[in-house]
Subunit: 335 residues, 2 copies
DNA sequence: CGATAACATGTTTACGTAAACATCTGGTCT
DNA sequence: AGACCAGATGTTTACGTAAACATGTTATCG
């Protein structure tokens, strides 16, 4: 072990001693506060660099400064959507020198509450939560903590303070109208996550009621318990098409599943969309590389993350309110 | 604003007052240390719950406790590989009550150094860095800080203390031997990230020299500056196949690109692997949903993250050494 | 039966930083 | 010339927690 292993890291006092000034002077010089001679500034900077001084933020925050740290709770890392959201969050926070600490709830509200409590112990200045349904305990905890809270993805429901997302209901209903307009009446629905993905459920509910209102019907419904993936979509589509023979179209809860469905159709010479139309959700980038464009709804995932991050970071041009971003229908190839 | 917005969160003193004991008793009871009457335990627990007390870890860490926080620096979030690594890290840390704070370096060593310095200001008990090439400043900084450091993905080079990954060179060379065995001699290479992905470069270098040693040759080489993606792979493959007509096989720096290449071939009636063989890297799950299996190298990404996390979390059964995990060749469909 | 150990609690202090509150110059203004 | 203020620096203190060091009170043991 080197000599540094046991010795604690250099503090402002060490820097001060080396520079021949007081600790307070070091604190001020490093923060660029107050008036100092060029000589002192240089001595402090040199001493800090020579010792490899790194600020101890725990002490600063303890003393009352804001902690540039944001707790982020995502339901899963297995879905690209949340990765995009995370990228938006991270990029935006990085711009203002903040960092995310994060946790994965696996779509469990109880786990989310535990995670939030854990994160609050580091006194972060904000939290970003997924979805808008939370336990009462969590609501009480964050209310008391006084940190800024952003809820993302979903805006339909009772938000804590600011929510950033799209209207899941509008997206589902729009897809139903598109199906009807394309002449699809007999529709199958394929989902994943065993119904714990509340946003997919909201889309589906709105989709179904709009479809039925317009004269269509759901002829098949399958929500698998596994996590969403292309292979799962392929498998479920195979099962669906062998179970029901007269289905015009399949609405998948997301693009992974839909792309898997397309792969099944390609391999089994089922024409898309004439044999069966497929629609997903999210408009993931890899769709554009598939042999054929399928219908989907574009979701502004990165923007949702970025905007939520701006809010919790304290940007004053992002008010605490319901921010409903635009989710646009993307129509697939019809050849 | 509610009355809680200005008032600071309850402390151990508040809990102690409510329970009618001293702050120290609260500290001990909550940590389950020392002996206490059932009565006191109950009173403290009730008071803590009633006030919604949450521990202030900043104070604990400041006082000398270990901070259950790990700084994680990844080169990008645009590559699924790092998401899998992150999942392994997160799951493993969560098991022992630790959380990752993280940053993205965009493949820049300078940015990585900045990020590490920033993270160290929170006194984390460990760091997970990507790759094994780092600036001297970073090496000095982490050495002085005394935190545990794990380097992931890459094991070829001079590690700080513990490295977890696969042999990029062996993977590249193995693929070259596979190409030769399959009769492919004239090979194209398609990469991305403009050469800043040092691991891809190591694979390619080993691949090329092994290929040439066995009588093959590189007839085309294109490393695009953009981030890796299926659409990019499709585009580059189209360009490649229109530029060189006599190429037997294409080695892509990863599966996204290779899958994009496959999509190009499918859409343009180029038979795979007879017209041109395609090989990627990583064995991403979505490959199994494609119409055809392409050759790739399976990388234990999740395991790398999990093992590195175990190490930095302080597991004593993970020694500080070079951990070389197995990367297995996965042969694609030959039909 | 005095000593020792296990129980059950409290007091003081330190961690590293920054706000609040001093000083002490040397000009500037009236 | 006295007042006043910007420049340039230092001292004290508090943030919330837990280790170190008390101080009792009961059992327990030889």
């Amino acid at each position: 072990m080197s000599q540094a292993s046991k010795k604690s890291r250099p503090t402002m006092h060490d820097v001060a001693a080396k520079a021949g000034v007081s600790q307070m002077t070091v604190s001020r010089v490093l923060r660029g506060e107050g008036y100092f001679s060029q000589d002192v500034k240089t001595r402090v900077a040199d001493a800090a660099k020579a010792l490899g001084y790194i600020q101890n933020r725990l002490a600063s925050v303890q003393r009352g400064m804001e902690n540039p740290m944001i707790g982020v709770v995502l339901p899963t890392l297995k879905n690209t959507v949340f990765i995009d959201v995370l990228a938006g969050i991270n990029d935006t926070l990085a711009e203002v020198g903040m960092r995310p600490v994060f946790g994965v709830s696996e779509y469990s509200e109880a786990e989310e509450e535990t995670l939030v409590r854990d994160m609050l112990s580091w006194q972060p200045c904000g939290l970003i939560l997924s979805g808008i349904e939370h336990t009462d305990g969590l609501r009480r905890t964050v209310a008391q903590s006084g940190v800024r809270v952003a809820e993302i993805m979903d805006v339909e429901g009772d938000a804590i303070s600011a929510s950033f997302g799209i209207s899941q209901q509008a997206a589902g209903a729009e897809m139903a109208r598109h199906f009807i307009a394309q002449g699809h009446r007999r529709v199958a629905y394929i989902g994943s996550q065993g119904g714990s993905d509340l946003r997919a459920l909201k889309r589906y509910t709105a989709f179904k009621s709009e479809l039925e209102a317009e004269g269509g019907c759901i002829t098949y419904e399958r929500i698998a318990n596994r996590a969403s993936s292309m292979p799962l979509g392929r498998e479920l589509t195979a099962a669906c098409l062998s179970d029901v023979t007269d289905c015009d179209a399949i609405y998948f809860s997301n693009d992974d599943l839909a792309a898997g469905g397309l792969m099944h159709c390609l391999s089994n010479k089922v024409s898309v969309p004439h044999g069966v139309a497929l629609a997903g959700f999210n408009d993931l980038p890899f769709l554009s590389a598939l042999p054929q464009r399928i219908t989907t709804t574009h979701t502004p995932r990165y923007e949702i993350g970025a905007l939520a991050a701006r809010y919790v970071a304290g940007a004053d041009d992002v008010p605490a309110k319901r921010h409903m971003l635009l989710a646009e229908l993307v129509v697939g190839d019809t050849t």
